[in-house]
Symmetry: C2
Amino acid sequence: MLLIGEFYKLAFFTKIHSMRQRLTVEAYTAGILSGDRIILSRAITLTESRLKNDRALAKKVLENILPFTGKSLRIGISGVPGVGKSTFIEAFGRHVTGLGMKIAVLSIDPSSKKSGGSILADKTRMENLAHDPLAYIRPSAAGPSLGGVAKNTRETILLCEAAGYEVIIIETVGVGQSETLVRGMSDFFLLLMLAGAGDELQGIKKGIMEMADAVAINKADGMNQVLAEQAVGEYRNALHLFPKPESGVDTQVLTCSALEGTGIAALWELIRKYQETTLQNGYFDQNRRNQNLEWMHDHIRQTLEEQFYENSILKKAVKTTEKSVSEGRELPVAAAERLLEFFFKNRI
Amino acid sequence: MLLIGEFYKLAFFTKIHSMRQRLTVEAYTAGILSGDRIILSRAITLTESRLKNDRALAKKVLENILPFTGKSLRIGISGVPGVGKSTFIEAFGRHVTGLGMKIAVLSIDPSSKKSGGSILADKTRMENLAHDPLAYIRPSAAGPSLGGVAKNTRETILLCEAAGYEVIIIETVGVGQSETLVRGMSDFFLLLMLAGAGDELQGIKKGIMEMADAVAINKADGMNQVLAEQAVGEYRNALHLFPKPESGVDTQVLTCSALEGTGIAALWELIRKYQETTLQNGYFDQNRRNQNLEWMHDHIRQTLEEQFYENSILKKAVKTTEKSVSEGRELPVAAAERLLEFFFKNRI
């Protein structure tokens, strides 16, 4: 493996300086494997492109780096705006780089499919971490749909791993389906909460808390500390009502203060312990294997649906049909079959 | 509407006695609208058939009865084996028929796709209710997949409504995805639980409790009563940690004893109150409209996936690919695209 890496590095140094827009497969590969952040960023941009040539190129790059992926610890983090996620990730990230490890911070932003940009992963949010040579912060992936964003993020994880990042944070906000996506690409899922904010205000969606491997009550500082400890008790009681996680490790609840830096080291230890236990009981690898399969089947499903729903002739018919179906004037199944028949006749 | 009903009744009485296996569209329609239980059962069997002719016939029957559907109150009920679901539904059903209303009991059994039959909806489980002239019990729908079972159950709901059933119970067991399906076709979702059984033992799946419009602690009788009251408190606290339901009505927790018949009337009142409130705030109709749309889109998605995964040439390739993908030897997206290309080239 190292020899291959060396080969790519050589190819990289001889070719990179004559390139502008797109590099060669070899140059991307070598750049990534040598940990070059600029090449890494350009490769991520390449995988996000919808142009046919770019996609073919990206596919080759991904195939090349595949043997060098999978070695990181992937940590999903969610929490609603106001929970102090940026400050937390900065403190957590600095702790990890302080231990000499490389960390990458990615994000899935449910709003990015609309804006094309991101409100979430602005580097200015985490200025200290952004300037840390061991940290790499990538703004939220863009995509035509949340599914597209997920696909891009999954590929970005692989690219970062090939570039030597040992811890990957995938963050999202506590609204919509994005948590399920993040959970589906993480080894460990952390939910950030606030004490005494009233969960309705916190806007946590149904089922999210049950996905968590750990719940951290953030901002447990000053006057808040007592409330935070109370919240820990409440969440522990509530979690007790749920079934034991598949990982075999009970969901942990703890407090932390990103501002004061308390609880961060304990949380890191907890995550390392989780990794150790699940590596031993086989869940860690099993989960990764399942996630790979899910990824493939998700992509198949998404593509099939895209072919159907993005069909320009069908779009108008779907809209009209939705009206008659929702009003109960047409049978849902009959309507679906009428549209499907049209699709299969006209698609290919 | 009544005139149409009368017309079908006439058509029915003149034709029914000369038929054997399959009836005419008119005979099915008239039989259902006149509330004939035998014709209703035969119509349900017809909609479950996968034969092309039967499906065309069923489609016409469903289209005919469509204007007479939608008037019932659809109640989903879930709870793991041992929670006393049959006894509960019997007591609840007898209470409803005691008020002079017609009730139908359907079931979605996750195991039925395998066995082709049902362990769940055996009429012998609810013997008293089965002999009640105002009650109709239909064993679990069969189908090639859980999605197929759901499709059949949705159509059975429509047929029962056209046959004049005012309350429809859709029951399922607290395992797997069947709750989500039942929730997606109910106006009200009731979760039956036991006190002190330990939720891990009760096997409630993640996210189920949060779907409930009410949680009823069953078997609150004898020595169990104190434990049941304690459980009510615990669940209320836990539910407090979740966001307010979209319906605008807080999830209720109460005790009942199907054996002693206590709590049943209160539960019925609670459900009627829920219906009243959600009819007023618009959620009831909005929910029905959304469910219709979901039904259509589910059917589209399922059909597209069936076309792909049931493709005989593709099946073997999918299996081999799953192995290389899960082991990380092939990129999930690249693998998916290879399979999709093959599908679109060979399908049509």
